[in-house]
Amino acid sequence: MDPGDSQCRSLQRLLALKRHERPPPGYFDRLPGRIQCRLIEQPEPDALGWLGGLLAGFQLRPAALGLFAVLVSCTYLLGFSASRDLVRQSWQAQAMREHLPGPHELAGWQSYAVRRAPRNQPMPSTAPVFSAGYPDPFRAFAPGRLGGAIAPASYQPSIR
């Protein structure tokens, strides 16, 4: 006989000793009544609100607790990376605003552009043209009434 097999059989016989361990006499007669008492005394998880129900559910399904923990961690990580992107975008936007040419720089560029324009070509008119006269809302601004042509604020006739 294999000594390992023999030892295994001896172990099983030794473990049979545990089948003879008994709780105090009358224990199983009292247990159902004690369970009923505790059922009456203890509040149901529903009474503890949704959190109590959730915790009770997790106790029944430990795997669900692990899944929930993974979900929460993923949500946290996604939120963290998304917020980092947002911060980066806002920083870029701010940096771009800071490097945009200001009004003084624009004026310099505009005068340069006007100077570079060919002299023999007429400057494009910015005055509105209405072939049949000015319509009603603009009649008050018609040339002659205000004593001059309408020009946009950026128009600089002095250069011409």
Binding site: K18, H20, E21, L31, A56
Partner: protein, 208 residues
């Protein structure tokens, strides 16, 4: 005075035992007596499993009650995918393993509070022969052997102890254990093999 009718000699036939499924349906409908019947039917095996896992009567008592309370509260969610027995065992096993993890962090040495051995142990032929023939220390008494055995059991990890408890002590088949533990049969077999090897090493003095 009219004569009393003689008592009927016929004993009314005993009601056929109601299966778990019927009791569960009645308990789900709010019949507390049906749940009480389920408790009476499964309390001994459930208590024994928890007791063999904890080696402590007070802990086993508390965990058995909590497991039944948990089962009662969750009874509405029981769909009958597995047997009520397996479902109930799963609740008890999860509760016990959680408890043991907490106990290990709180009190690593643990505390044995062992139940008394019943009178049948003196007449168990296997144990009598084991003690008189196999054990070199013939003076060993049963109480000492019980304590050594429980100490050795407590040295096993929870999954290994559970497999030994369910298979070698309670006699459940591998398939049932796999369903309770939520693993496959191969895992149950390998855990059982490893746990037996560990126990043989711990109890080598008593197995020669």
């Amino acid at each position: 005075m009219p004569a009393l009718a003689p008592p009927s000699a016929e004993i009314p036939p005993a009601a056929p035992p109601v299966d778990d499924g019927e009791l569960v349906r009645r308990a789900q409908a709010g019949d507390s007596e049906a749940f009480d019947a389920l408790v009476r039917r499964h309390q001994e095996r459930l208590y024994a499993t928890i007791y063999h896992m904890t080696s402590n009567h007070e802990d086993a008592d508390d965990l058995t009650q909590e497991s039944f309370i948990k089962a009662f509260r969750a009874l509405k969610s029981f769909k009958g995918d597995s047997s009520f027995f397996t479902w109930l065992y799963r609740i008890a096993v999860n509760k016990t393993i959680n408890f043991l993890k907490q106990r290990k962090s709180r009190n690593p040495a643990g505390h044995l509070s062992l139940n008394d051995l019943d009178f049948n142990v003196e007449h168990d032929p296997d144990l009598v022969s084991l003690i008189s023939e196999r054990t070199p220390r013939r003076e060993v008494n049963l109480a000492e052997l019980q304590e050594k055995l429980n100490t050795a059991m407590q040295k096993l990890s929870e999954p290994h102890r559970l497999v030994v408890t369910l298979h070698d002590i309670q006699g459940l088949p591998h398939e049932e254990i796999a369903a309770i533990m939520g693993c496959n049969v191969g895992t149950v077999r390998s855990r059982l093999f490893y746990a037996r090897q560990q126990l043989q090493a711990y109890l080598s003095d008593y197995l020669k």
